[in-house]
């Protein structure tokens, strides 16, 4: 049953995104189950439209978000990472998002110190009623990533590795 | 200071007098401001109807009779029509003008008062309004001798102004009503102040 993700990668050969010629933005969104996931559901039921390059990974709460998930996503070729949860005061678990915010603050500073391109790291609070905000956020983020192109700096490291 | 008041329980008398003259209970006014919002004359007014009613509620007589607001009321009754508490605000304005006159208060804007007087004088004299005479008399009284003077000849040319006043056989009846009404309003003033006196328990 338990197959380590590592073995999975090896099985799929290079395991890397397609060649730059057919590049499409790869955005990973870590979103909480109660607010942002439901907000994204609302965007769907309202038939709002946004570009199809975002991949959602559902977590119960932004409190569950370990910043190292973000590094893993970049290691695997993500061009942008979004983390989104309930607005302050609205957390289903009362305080998960406050704890998450502290982690963001520290991790963001660390990435900045290391010279990471911070346009590729977004944080947001999107409530269950903010389907429109979800759509706007994804549209804008996709636009930014499309303008920037692939995350070459990180990919170089990956390629060398 | 007009806007510094000491409340001692007597303030209710003004509201009671207005009620006696108009039947309007201003305790119902909760100061929502809709009358001021709809009033066409608000830009020219110092206080607007809402605040005028407030001064009555608090018995601020001196400040009330200093306002131009009641005199600028155009009697369009928009305020009355839209008041959420069905207060006949236009009537209150009429009553405030009436009270100011009866109490011999100095009127802050003279023109509407003069117009009122000459208009009614004309009516009382002729039974019907004689517009050219009324305007001339108004200009004389207000000191604005050439007010709308340009309009007169044009209207004359158009045949819109009669040269002589019409009169009516019922003129006397009309004058009688004028006289009686005047007597009654004075009496009502006395009664109102007595009632107010009684109710406030002094």
């Amino acid at each position: 049953m338990s197959e380590s993700p590592q073995s999975e990668t090896q099985k799929d050969g290079a395991g890397l995104p397609e060649a730059a010629t057919s590049w499409e933005p790869r955005i990973v969104a870590f979103i909480c189950n109660w607010c942002t996931y439901t907000g994204a559901d609302l965007a769907g039921t309202s038939r709002m439209k946004y570009p199809p390059y975002v991949r959602v990974i559902k977590i119960p709460c932004t409190g569950r978000f370990d910043p190292l998930f973000m590094i893993k996503a970049f290691e695997r070729g993500a061009d942008g990472v979004l983390v989104s949860g309930c607005h302050p005061g609205d957390c289903h678990y009362t305080a998960g998002n406050y704890n998450a915010r502290r982690k963001y603050t520290v991790f963001k500073a660390l990435l900045e110190t290391l010279g990471m391109d911070m346009d590729r790291v977004w944080f947001s609070w999107i409530s269950a009623s903010e389907g429109g905000k979800w759509v706007d956020t994804i549209r804008k983020f996709t636009e930014v990533i499309q303008e920037k192109g692939p995350f070459r700096e990180y990919r170089e490291m990956i390629d060398v590795g | 200071m007009k806007y510094q008041i000491r409340l001692s329980g007597d303030e209710i008398r003004l509201m009671q007098e207005v009620k006696a003259r108009s039947g309007v209970d201003l305790a119902k006014c909760y100061q929502c401001g809709e009358c001021t919002a709809g009033c066409p004359m608000t830009p020219e007014m110092d206080a607007g109807p809402t605040k005028t009613l407030r001064l009555i509620q608090l018995g601020m007589e001196e400040a009330l009779f200093d306002l131009n607001t009641p005199w600028l009321c155009a009697s369009c009754e928009t305020c009355t029509a839209r008041c959420p508490n069905d207060i006949d605000i236009a009537l209150v304005m009429d009553v405030v003008r009436q009270m100011a006159r009866l109490k011999g208060k100095k009127i802050p804007v003279k023109e509407p008062r003069i117009f009122q007087d000459v208009f009614l004088k004309s009516v009382e004299n002729n039974g019907r309004l004689f517009e050219p005479g009324m305007i001339a008399f108004y200009n004389l009284r207000s000191g604005d001798l050439f007010h709308d003077v340009g309009l007169g000849p044009k209207m004359l040319l158009k045949g819109k102004l009669p040269l002589l006043p019409h009169t009516s056989k019922n003129r006397e009846k009309l004058r009688e009503i004028f006289r009686k009404a005047e007597a009654l309003e004075k009496e009502a003033g006395k009664k109102a102040s007595e009632e107010a006196h009684d109710e406030s328990g002094h």
Partner: protein, 689 residues
């Protein structure tokens, strides 16, 4: 090797309009570990569910991914279906290709590719899912109600009438709370005691209610369904079983000048006293701080006069333990004081009103006592300084409340209404007096409430002035109140005979100590916090603890009673089953690598993690580790993300699962996207329905 089944739903045309579902099924079939992949028009329909169930049996599937709508829509449906086919429900996951894909994207190649990737992501997750069982917790079907005001009384009666035992703890010698002090109640003006005392009597005599008055909660252990409560019964110095409540002792007690709490200092009481005639229990208590025997060692007048020898000077505080399954917190409120040094040291008093030192400046509860027929004046409105009937009374709203510079920003909610009531009570008793009210806004949103306020103004002639009062000072026989009326723009000065301050509704002073014992959160003012302000207004974030009444924030009587009944029904729901079932999304600790830094213990919002000693057979401590109580854990995962030795993980959202999801997204090869034309005719057996 996993055997996963993938079931792609067309949702009529809702998905298939923009997503090539057949291709999604085909591509899914090529993911390693996928044994079967099918698409179908309506997966949630009976035939759709049958298709899944048959596939589970036929292919001996050990995981299912239903690629359809949002899990918030149909996760329960499909989990039930797989359970019926013999698969553990937590081995079924949903890939959301409707709300998150078909509905929000155009019909184009990347949309179908996204759908395939979403399936792939869930397949990788499901491969690492564990068969989990819902957590079962035994329930003790008894309730603890803390606080014997109207909210506590109502909650206790409702639970007791529901057939369960209730432990009602009240810190004062009698139940009744503040409502017992009120004269009449808005907006109906019925007599407060008349409607409350029958309920107080019921509480005292209900076979299912165990009443602890003059008692406090000392300690609370355990968790939902299984709390163990220690109650301190303060020494009453009277044996209430022997006492008949005849009152002889009160008459003989020589210490008579103690300000009565019940009458809010407007009347005195004795050292041995029954707080008010309708008290339940109607038994006295000795106030040892003021009792001559306890302070000077001599007297015992009460003991001598007692016909039943009920007075017992040797009594000591007693501790009893009770086991309960749910707790209703109904500790109520108290009023802010304008004193310089009040019971709320964090908030400033009102020096501009003389710090509450003038006897004719009173608060709302004192006015209630003045107006009450059972009060110190027998219901006559008399000012405290000299007993004269006040000819003008000025009522000030928003004292403390909505006054950030004094430290309080909230609206106390009930003052507009009770002030209107006060003006009416006053005018009904003092016909020629004038009642003035300084207010900032009138907040009267309730059934018959605004009409009530308008009645006070229109019929009873209360003069409402929109503004605050800047100063109150004494001038001879009068109090000069200097305020304003912003509607007229006037500065207003009133010579008042008495001033009534509608002071802020505050939690009981020091109540946070109890909240800490309960492990429930509270706001900056020490009002208890609800789990969700809109959808869970009665529950605490801590499971099994419910809120009733003004301990949560300012509330009037009907609201407190309604919330009390709601809290009672929450408790009754809890007691309706022998065991509770909970989603097994809970944290678990890897004891091998846990280094006992206690970050998880500190950060858990539900105090679900505790410190555990691991000992060898001889009892020697080997190491200490964190331990999760699955009954308390709600599965937020904050601990898992915080632990830097990564020794704590969250079932259902394990690090491994999330990593494999990330990996699945990125490890995308060309072969995963068969071209649409190739899909035709080339379908591998059974991969497309």
């Amino acid at each position: 090797m996993s055997k996963i089944g993938v079931f792609v739903c067309h949702c009529g045309e809702n998905i298939s309009r923009t997503v090539d579902c057949a291709r999604v099924a085909k591509a899914s079939g090529q993911i390693r570990g996928v044994a079967v992949a099918k698409d179908y028009k309506y997966m949630c329909s009976d035939p759709g569910q049958a298709l899944i169930k048959n596939a589970i049996k036929e292919h001996k599937l050990d995981g299912v991914v239903v690629s359809a709508c949002s899990p918030h829509m149909h996760e329960k449906t499909f989990r039930k279906a797989v359970t019926e086919a013999g698969l553990n429900q937590f081995l079924c996951e949903m890939a959301n290709i409707r709300e998150h894909c078909s509905w929000v994207h155009e019909k184009e190649e990347p949309t179908t590719r996204k759908a395939i990737e979403l399936v792939r992501l869930m397949v990788e997750k499901v491969k690492r899912n564990m068969a989990l069982e819902p957590i079962r917790v035994d329930v003790t079907k008894r309730a603890l109600v803390i606080g014997g005001g109207v909210a506590g009384i109502q909650a206790a009666l409702d639970i007791a009438d529901g057939g369960h035992e209730v432990i009602l703890v009240e810190k004062d010698p009698s139940v009744g709370g503040h409502m017992a002090q009120l004269s009449e109640t808005f907006p109906t003006l019925d007599c407060s005691q008349c409607i409350l005392t029958p309920k107080m009597v019921d509480v005292g005599s209900h076979p299912n209610i165990k009443l602890y008055t003059y008692s406090e909660v000392e300690k609370i252990e355990g968790f939902v369904g299984n709390f163990k409560v220690t109650i301190k019964k303060k020494a009453r110095s009277v044996d209430i079983d022997k006492c008949t409540g005849c009152g002889e002792c009160q008459l003989k007690c020589p210490s008579k000048k103690i300000p009565s709490e019940f009458d809010r200092g407007l009347k005195n009481r004795t050292a041995i006293y029954i707080p008010f005639p309708q008290a339940v229990p109607a038994r006295p208590v000795i106030d040892r701080e003021h009792c001559i025997y306890f302070t000077k060692g001599k007297c015992k007048a009460c003991q001598k006069v007692c016909p039943t020898e009920a007075v017992d000077f040797e009594q000591t505080d007693e501790y009893v333990e009770e086991e309960v399954g749910g707790i209703v917190v109904a500790t109520g409120f108290d009023l802010y004081t304008t004193d310089k040094q009040g019971p709320y040291p964090d908030y400033k008093g009102y020096g501009e009103y003389g710090y509450g030192e003038d006897p004719d400046i009173i608060d709302g509860l004192q006015f209630e006592r003045l107006a009450s027929a059972s009060g110190p004046t027998g219901g006559a409105i008399q000012r405290p300084s000299d007993g004269k009937e006040p000819k003008s009374v000025v009522f000030l709203q928003c004292i403390g409340s909505r006054h950030p510079s004094k430290g309080i920003e909230f609206c106390s909610k009930i003052c507009c209404m009770y002030t209107a009531k006060h003006t009416m009570l006053y005018k009904h008793k003092v016909h020629h007096g004038t009642a003035y009210v300084f207010y900032m806004d009138i907040r009267a949103p309730g059934k018959g409430y605004d009409e009530f306020v308008r009645r006070a103004i229109e019929e009873d002639g209360a003069v409402y002035l929109r503004g605050r009062v800047s100063r109150i000072y004494r001038s001879g026989d009068h109090l000069i109140v200097k305020g304003a009326d912003t509607l007229s723009g006037a500065a207003v000065e009133i010579e008042a005979d008495m001033v009534v301050l509608a002071t802020a509704v505050m939690p009981q002073p020091g109540i946070e100590g109890l909240f800490q014992k309960l492990g429930i959160s509270y706001d900056q003012y020490k009002f208890a916090s609800e789990a969700h302000p809109k959808l869970r207004p009665v529950e605490c974030a801590t499971a099994g603890i419910f809120l009733a009444g003004a301990c949560q924030g300012p509330k009037d009587i009907p609201e407190s009673v309604a919330q009390a009944s709601a809290a009672a029904s929450k408790a009754l729901i809890l007691f309706s089953r022998d065991q509770m079932l909970r989603e097994p999304v809970v944290a678990k600790v890897n004891e091998n690598t846990c280094i006992a830094c206690w970050y998880c213990v500190e950060i858990c919002p539900f105090t679900a993690i505790s410190k555990k000693d691991i000992r060898d057979r001889q009892g020697n401590l080997i190491k200490r580790v964190a331990e999760v109580n699955p009954s308390l854990c709600t599965g937020c995962g904050t601990c898992a993300a915080t632990c830097f030795s990564n020794s704590i993980d969250l079932d259902g959202f394990t690090d491994e699962q999330i990593y494999s999801e990330i990996n699945s997204l990125m490890a995308v090869g060309q072969d995963l996207f068969p071209e649409p034309e190739k899909a035709e005719g080339d379908s591998p057996d059974e991969k497309a329905a």
